[in-house]
């Protein structure tokens, strides 16, 4: 198939960016979106031009490294799919596709479509862990967990930290990511001793990184490749509220 691409090109964090137009000819319909960009890049390199920089790693929807806002929709906006798993058959012959980076002041552009998402690492450092040595895999029935709790924790743990929620949010808020991590760890017994410290630490790290505030519009959940539901955010709010009150009363 033949497509017209309008791709955001930006030399570095501080340089101004612009949309550059490319013709993507003879793209196989079975190519993934990233493979389409690979083809375009090979041709750019052959003609001595600077290839388009974009992030990727596993290309099977599990690492969270790929990104891209495609026609205004992170990961293409289908929901439940990462850009690496998006196929060109979803597009129409002759279509114009605008490709931009995940935009947020907390995700500065490294180059072109690649952004620095280390703000997420700082949020994890704020409390997204369990600080006990668990050793090797424990006996499965050693710590019983109710089925519904296990299911909820497991669904939340599916978050791959891609940042599409931030990119889709009208306010570049990271609430869905933080909510997924807090729901995961605050649900299981192993996470209980640090539950209040965790949520306070992670929300403060989130605020310090300059993400926006949630306005309960749920654009995040609509694009999340792991379909983390917006209810996780209500849970985050509840956990934060109780932790903040406890902190104010008993320190």
């Amino acid at each position: 198939m033949n497509l017209t691409l309008k791709v955001w090109r930006q030399k570095n964090r501080n340089a101004p960016g612009h949309l550059a137009e490319y013709q993507a000819r003879d793209i196989p319909v079975d190519a993934s979106f990233l493979e389409m960009l690979d083809i375009v890049n090979e041709r750019l390199i052959e003609s001595g031009d600077d290839p388009i920089a974009f992030d990727h790693d596993c290309r099977e929807g599990i690492c969270g490294m790929c990104s891209l806002t495609i026609n205004g929709k992170p990961h293409g906006g289908k929901g439940g799919v990462t850009t690496c798993q998006l196929h060109m058959r979803e597009f129409q012959e002759g279509q114009t596709i605008v490709i931009e980076p995940f935009r947020a002041s907390a995700f500065p552009v490294v180059k072109d479509l690649a952004v620095n998402r280390s703000a997420f690492d700082r949020i994890i450092q704020g409390g997204g862990f369990i600080s006990v040595r668990t050793g090797s895999a424990p006996e499965a029935n050693g710590t019983p967990i109710a089925k519904d709790v296990a299911d909820r924790a497991f669904a939340a743990a599916a978050c791959i930290g891609c940042g599409a929620c931030v990119a889709a949010c009208k306010n570049a808020s990271a609430m869905l990511f933080v909510a997924a991590k807090v729901t995961h760890l605050n649900s299981v017994p192993q996470g209980q001793p640090e539950r209040d410290r965790r949520v306070l630490g992670m929300v403060r790290a989130m605020d310090a990184a300059g993400f926006g505030n949630c306005t309960n519009q749920y654009e995040c959940a609509a694009v999340c490749p792991k379909e983390i539901p917006a209810d996780a955010i209500a849970r985050l709010n509840r956990d934060y509220g109780t932790a903040a009150i406890k902190e104010a009363l008993v320190g």
Binding site: T69, R103, S105, C214, Q217, G241, A244
Partner: protein
């Protein structure tokens, strides 16, 4: 005391804290709206019922200033926190998308600042109109709007005020935007305060819409009834 003060400051400084303060102040304003509506609907029970209710409120004397100042405080806090949040949100995405798309956000959710500011303009107009100002000569010395015992004839005030069509029109426009504000705001409140679960989300969305329709329909019924000549 100082520790509590610091805790409040710290809560306000956080994103979720500010949102909860918006939601809590809104809860107070919603309670006021319900009470205010219930009082106003007495107009349909005739002049005596409405005027007696108004006289009772005015009978509170200085104590009427307790709810008044409380409301003013709630509106002030609500506006301060929402505008603060909105400014941070703008700063969080300095470079807009060239191709912008909206997948799920409702129109009312995207108009919260606009609908809120319209409500603010309306509140100011409303106070000038009935409470402070003298557009229709309500507060003239000649006693045209006084009852025999000297208290205000609120029924007559309302019928005269809403008989002016552009006045009623502005009320109806403002009420429509209040409805928009509440249809997103009320369901949003449950999410912000952490009550929403997968099971209850549809219920809260419905509650928000019903609340918006009930409040706005209720208030709107008065100017409409006056214009239609039903109340006179």
């Amino acid at each position: 005391m100082k520790a509590l003060y610091l805790a409040v400051i710290r809560f306000y400084a956080s994103s979720i804290g500010k949102k909860m303060i918006v939601a809590l102040s809104a809860l107070g304003l919603l309670a006021f709206l319900l009470g205010h509506l219930a009082g106003n609907l007495l107009i349909f029970s005739g002049p005596d019922a409405l005027n007696a209710y108004a006289a009772k409120l005015h009978g509170l004397g200085v104590f009427l200033w307790v709810p008044r100042l409380g409301l003013l405080g709630l509106v002030g806090v609500h506006i301060m926190a929402t505008l603060h949040l909105a400014a941070q949100n703008r700063a969080a995405r300095p470079q807009e998308y060239v191709a912008d798309a909206t997948l799920r956000a409702t129109r009312s959710s995207r108009m919260m600042v606009l609908s809120g500011l319209t409500i603010l303009a309306f509140i100011i107009y409303h106070l000038l109109h009935f409470t402070v100002g003298n557009l229709h000569g309500f507060h003239d010395d000649n006693g045209a709007y006084r009852l025999a015992d000297g208290s205000m004839n609120v029924y007559k005030m309302m019928v005269v005020a809403f008989g002016v069509w552009f006045n009623s029109l502005f009320y109806l426009v403002a009420l429509t935007l209040l409805g928009s504000h509440l249809s997103h705001g009320v369901s949003s409140l449950f999410q912000t305060l952490g009550f929403t679960t997968p099971r209850t989300r549809p219920l809260y969305t419905l509650v928000g819409r019903l609340f918006a329709v009930a409040i706005c329909g209720g208030f709107a019924s008065i100017p409409v009834a006056v214009l239609a000549g039903f109340l006179k």
